[in-house]
Symmetry: C2
Subunit: 350 residues, 2 copies
Amino acid sequence: MNNLFSDKLKKLTPYTPGEQLNDKRYIKLNTNENPYPPSDKVLEAIKDKADETLRLYPDPESKELLSVIAKKYSIDNDMAFVSNGSDETLAFAFNAFFSGKKVAFPKITYSFYPVYCKLYDAKEETPEMNYDYTIDKEAVSKCKYPLIIANPNAPTGELLSNEYICSLLEKDKERLILVDEAYIDFANQPSMAEYVKKYKNLLVVRTFSKSYSLAGMRIGYAIGDKALITALNTVKNCFNSYPLDRLAQISAVTALNNQEYYNMINNKVKATRDRVAKQLDKLGCTVLPSQSNFLFVKFGGYDSRTIYTKFKDEGILIRQWNYIPDYVRISIGTDSDMDSLINTAKEIMK
Amino acid sequence: MNNLFSDKLKKLTPYTPGEQLNDKRYIKLNTNENPYPPSDKVLEAIKDKADETLRLYPDPESKELLSVIAKKYSIDNDMAFVSNGSDETLAFAFNAFFSGKKVAFPKITYSFYPVYCKLYDAKEETPEMNYDYTIDKEAVSKCKYPLIIANPNAPTGELLSNEYICSLLEKDKERLILVDEAYIDFANQPSMAEYVKKYKNLLVVRTFSKSYSLAGMRIGYAIGDKALITALNTVKNCFNSYPLDRLAQISAVTALNNQEYYNMINNKVKATRDRVAKQLDKLGCTVLPSQSNFLFVKFGGYDSRTIYTKFKDEGILIRQWNYIPDYVRISIGTDSDMDSLINTAKEIMK
């Protein structure tokens, strides 16, 4: 039955997301979800809109949401783009900007990028990391290809300064730099969004999944020069006219209009992160400085698979990759979740 | 700034969906939405699940929804696939099955198919229609390429018999036939889904947008042999791990579990359709026999753009395409909506 399939299909290697076990026993520290719920106003807005209008298509352009995003960043509506999760924006960006070209990103970063390279016939250039999993800025600076920077980086949590990224943008204004800011709200640095008016070669990609506690609703967005946004819309309108359902749109609008609540919960996450990082360090773990809602941790003397299994046996799910033999990634949960984690870590490191 | 974009981008021509005007003045008969609301149980289920779990990613595999679909058609879960609207399934199918190949569909059909051809480098083969916009079955039967059949066809409403489609499936079992059944619940014929166990070269694509009154929630699905579904999953998992949000998943599950309500409203739509078709015929319009929730209508003496404008001036939105000079498409609304339509039609045809 091989004739049924395209040659394209045979070249693809899917991305594997973190486990989503329905089993309630687990403390879930494996997919970087926010431990705190969405704002009550978001839940109320969804309930309010769960009415007979669901029979109607949503606004294909998500105009209300674009307006709220545009207002947040003091830009025009046509400099913003929304999608079904930020992964969809990334996919469209690969198609619009990197298809058939070389594109660079650090060797250890969000592992969906190499998957998109295959899907969109882009050739990956991956500067090596430093021995300690930090980004080799010299290697990145030398790179002349379109560039993707997850900032803070995943799964390491490292933050590059906006000044450094601006220096890369300055170097060659015909070279696109995509800054994937899935975790920026957990960093002590503002978004690069403030530079999109200055740099027409900058695309900033963001998500409601982490800092807005809406992973379950699938909303991502991008900010950039009008020409970049037009390109994303061209690809989107060749793929799916209505990527965001009515309830996703209203949940994102309401979340942005309740920024104070999210600042409060994200500050809690950051405080917990810094506390846990210190505790793990005291136990003898190696913890990379993190500006994100997760920690990248080495439990000396154990490989990453063993550590993953030890935590799972104790009812705690963390993230592990076979291509990273020594470090695991631990999402920041509630203080109580993290106390359980520390207890297990103590047992392991004693 | 041309260096910023891919060559691929330059080849794309986006699809244009029907207008989604927020202006409440219009009677909206232009995008084939169901005029009746979703079941109360669906709205209750959504409200019930609009809780703190929205902070968590949805099940990436939509297992509960797959189970309910599988039960409906007495198939295994691995013979079903769900997506963010059926357009997303169609896009993935183009990538998995038609990319780099020829693919055939009737000349006048769902106008997203040629858009996907460009997006996925497929070459379209479009057998001409008969003079009256019916499908030239002889031309289709001669065609040896992978085939897409919208059944009932859009925007014409014509239904091909399942026996005829089976005869095409029999001819060459190494040739995929995708049957797009967006409107099948308005036809006097069951879905082709019952043949997916017999024909490993049959993929049936369906949607919750029309007959389940959930256009606002974006849920589509496909039924087919396990190998076809595996291929769709490969593409999906290279694109977006979590295409269906938590509330979309529960709304679809609940809708399928309340089939009686949907049978009732869809029977109402069919009765209204048949009544309106007769009335338009009496007024001197040419109305194609429709097995869908819309009518394909010629108002003799007027071109389609003029007719579209005349209805819009009276506050009624219908669908018009410049490449169809004589016919317009009118979605079936409530009886009251259609009485307004008939009144305007009387004015036009008097």
